[in-house]
């Protein structure tokens, strides 16, 4: 008898990353060891915005939902109307607990009639199984059975086409297509976490190495780079996407009352569909809609150039009044040349267009400083180039 593996798991792309890695900086993601940055996070970031960046998202949790009730099951599980999501389409949604608080967000891939895959950061085998009581569905955790690669950036379509993925030009955002590359099945979806043109490739772990090699061969002349999580995180903030654990905590893991967030409090009103049949959190959300929410997610454009990590948010410049919230993610955006942040503030504060103040803490040669900075609440993502939606994409 041997013990379960005591260290961190390796993804199907681990060897490829290890081969190009120069910094040896890794961290744990969902039990796997993944690269923070293989050589230089700044350069990796610009691969996302300028050329093609390849990111290993194999550690994402993947659940296959099948069976006669699969569609009805998902529709009860998530806040969005899944019944309008046809085969070949992908939908972003959140799912909530009984109190209407977000447990996680994720993408639902309608692979084939009645055959779905849910992809999420958190582990949900138990929640999904509990939610399946009374439904005729089968739920398989295929996290380890599916390798996944994000290929993102303005030249990503050209690179993939050159690699042999033909016909992707007609794939619209949030579409998916089943393809083959040298006889190896690959599901390609036009999805991503960067806010730019990009695709995600889903394949068998056995084929992972070969497919990686084909893509890198094809991209060699157009500046393809493998990137780590540091670069991705920066593009994620620019795109204004939420990160579980930062913008919200999974409601099924919070111990303290009031630390979880509803979809409304995360600016995801558009994901809550009261016209569809019953879903988890519906009653509480309807009540919240009537009564008003406690928190609001804000996207902040902050004056100056000092990222507002962990900053408190105030309604006025004077700190004598108590804070109304805090920053959850912050970055200097190289592509927008803006000091941006996501944060959570108490309602009614934080309406788009209003001005708030953040107290920024920064260190200069050992000494900590603090500074009040004006922050404008903006609507929508900081970075949303038209090319992300363009179909067919521009060739390079």
């Amino acid at each position: 008898m041997t013990e379960v593996h005591q260290g961190r798991l390796e993804t199907p792309f681990y060897g490829r990353f290890k081969a190009i890695d120069t910094l040896n900086e890794w961290h744990t993601w969902n039990g796997y060891t993944v690269c923070n940055s293989p050589y230089c996070a700044d350069l990796e970031y610009f691969a996302i915005r300028n050329a093609t960046a390849v990111f290993d998202l194999s550690p994402m949790n993947k659940y296959r939902i099948t069976g006669p009730d699969a569609g009805a099951y998902l529709n009860r599980l998530v806040t969005r109307n899944v019944s309008v999501l046809g085969p070949g389409r992908v939908g972003y949604s959140v799912w909530c607990d009984n109190d209407g608080k977000v447990i996680d967000d994720g993408t639902i891939f309608h692979l084939d009639e009645g055959d779905y895959r849910v992809c999420a950061a958190g582990r949900h085998a138990a929640w999904f199984a509990d939610a399946a009581i009374g439904f005729d569905v089968e739920i398989d955790d295929e996290t380890a059975d599916v390798a996944a690669l994000a290929v993102q950036g303005p030249t990503s379509w050209s690179v993939l086409t050159r690699a042999g993925f033909e016909g992707l030009e007609s794939l619209k955002p949030f579409g998916l297509v089943h393809m083959e590359l040298g006889g190896r099945p690959v599901m390609v979806s036009r999805t991503g976490f960067t806010g730019d043109l990009g695709y995600e490739l889903w394949m068998s772990p056995d084929d992972a190495g070969v497919i990686w090699d084909r893509i890198f061969e094809a991209g060699e002349l157009t500046g393809i780079r493998a990137i780590g999580t540091d670069a991705l995180e920066l593009s994620r903030i620019e795109a204004g996407y939420l990160a579980p654990g930062l913008e919200f905590l999974p409601a099924d893991e919070t111990v303290r009352t009031g630390r979880s967030r509803s979809p409304f409090e995360l600016g995801l009103d558009w994901l809550v569909d009261f016209t569809k049949p019953n879903f988890n959190g519906r009653r509480a959300l309807a009540e919240e809609q009537r009564r008003g929410s406690t928190w609001r997610l804000v996207r902040l454009d902050i004056e100056g150039n000092k990222p507002a990590h962990n900053a408190y948010v105030f309604p006025r410049e004077s700190r004598s009044r108590s804070d109304i919230g805090f920053v959850t993610s912050a970055a200097w955006s190289p592509v927008c040349k803006k000091n941006v942040a996501l944060g959570t503030v108490r309602q009614p504060h934080g309406r788009p267009g209003t001005t708030l103040w953040v107290e920024i803490y920064y260190q200069r040669e050992m000494h900590w400083q603090r500074k009040m900075a004006r922050a404008t609440v903006v609507e929508g993502p900081f970075w949303a180039p038209d090319r992300r939606r363009l179909t067919p994409p521009e060739p390079y």
Binding site: M1, E3, V4, Q6, G31, N98, A126, D141, E253, V255
Partner: protein, 538 residues
Amino acid sequence: MKKYDVVVVGAGHNGLTTAAFLAKAGLDVVCVEKNDYIGGAAVSRELHKDWIYSNCSYVCSLLRPEIFRSLELHKHGLQITPYGGSLTFMQNGDYFGSYHDPEVKYREMSRFSRRDADAYKHYAADTQRQCRFIRDFLLTTPPDPTSFHPRDLAGLLDIGKRFVDMGEDRMYETLRFWTMSVADYLNEYFETDVIKAALSGSGIIGTALGIHSPGTAYVLLHHYMGDVDGNVGAWGFARGGMGAVSNAIAGAFQANGGELRTESGVGHIRIRDGKVVGVALENGDEIDADTVVSAMDVKRMFLDCMDESDLPSHFVRKVKEFKIRGSSGKLNIALDGMPEFPALPKGSTLYSSDMHFVDSMERMERAYDDWTDGTWSQDPYIDMVMPTMNDPTMAPPGKHFMSCFVQYCPYEIDGRAWTDEERQQFADTVINQIANYSPNFKDLILHYEIRTPSDIESQIGITEGNIFHGELTMDQLLFNRPVPGYAQYRAPVSGLYMCGSSTHPGGGVMAAPGANAAREILKDLKYANTVPENFGDD
């Protein structure tokens, strides 16, 4: 003859804690102990040459960090080291391990059920929520729900507020949690028998109930709410054995001018005109003091050391009805080397974990059925640790001390005293169960000590050898502990106090009862409070 401000009866960790805080406040305190060693049930004893035995309590997590810090126990030699994991050997040759590393723990659970592995976070969050609720009450005196005194009303209001703050759904969950059996509680999360069996042990340790008995879910908290350096639920060893805890508190007590007298068992507590005036020792000596604090369990304190006529009759009746059941025994073993466990791969970190040998819910419950039938479990639940894996100073190099906590083990066999033969059979039951999983175990045994509840009673003094000084059931918690109306550490005689584990918040090497009692005494004596408040957590 010298008159003291306070006599504390019993130098267990709670008695010493009360004594230390009172001495710190400037009172002249003497702490008397019947044995020739201090510590009560938190002791380190050299029962086999060069082997230090933690022969009663054997692990430490509940000791309140507020008390540790306030009494500066590190200056008196106390060092607590966390240890990792637990392990349940299975009858089919497999095992289920609970690893310190959360990812490895997850992976191991997934080996049995991915769903259970994911459900663990729900279980942990829901249980932590209950821990948080109760933890804030550990260092407080329970309010009396029948009283209209402002302090009680404020206390009740505080409990009510914390309860309401949980939100409606979680209030219902809390009501259910307090009244459920640990088996039903686990059934709501997990599907794998061995995982449930492994987790259910914490619901019955030290308790004369089975895993299917309502109320046992709460007992989980007494094993989960402790922490080591903020790692909630973690358990640790005291370096040098559990006696290090008592010795450190005694050190703090003496550093504050307290006087410790061993071999001074109390014969009775002296009462005159309805007031306490001191104690009379078994050797005939008398000690005068206007305040007497007893760390003994309430049955021993009131029924053995006092005249019933000095106490209200309904109080005496309630003390008699107080449930303090012998339900667990111990086997402490000196080993010539490391036992082999063929089921467990060599080099596994689980060698230094808690080991168990009962792999199903049915076996857990059947162990209890034996106890209700008046005998020890034939297939007992054993919580086995080798502290020497983490603290090599407790035995010579390469040798080990093994502590086996055994449940269930009755105070009496079928209503009569244990015979020597039965004690030996009990030991054999335990040794054989371990030997089933460790072929060389028996050969390594150099010495062992058998501790049935009646042995614990006769040596430590705890009635029926109950490790918690009274069952931790709903009817004996909070304002019901030890007796409704007397849960605020004051006995029904002026100047007499209780500070042992029979009082809120109950047993375990927590020192909270001792600290709470000290706070009440200082209030009555109009001395400045020296007892720390909860660190709090929000």
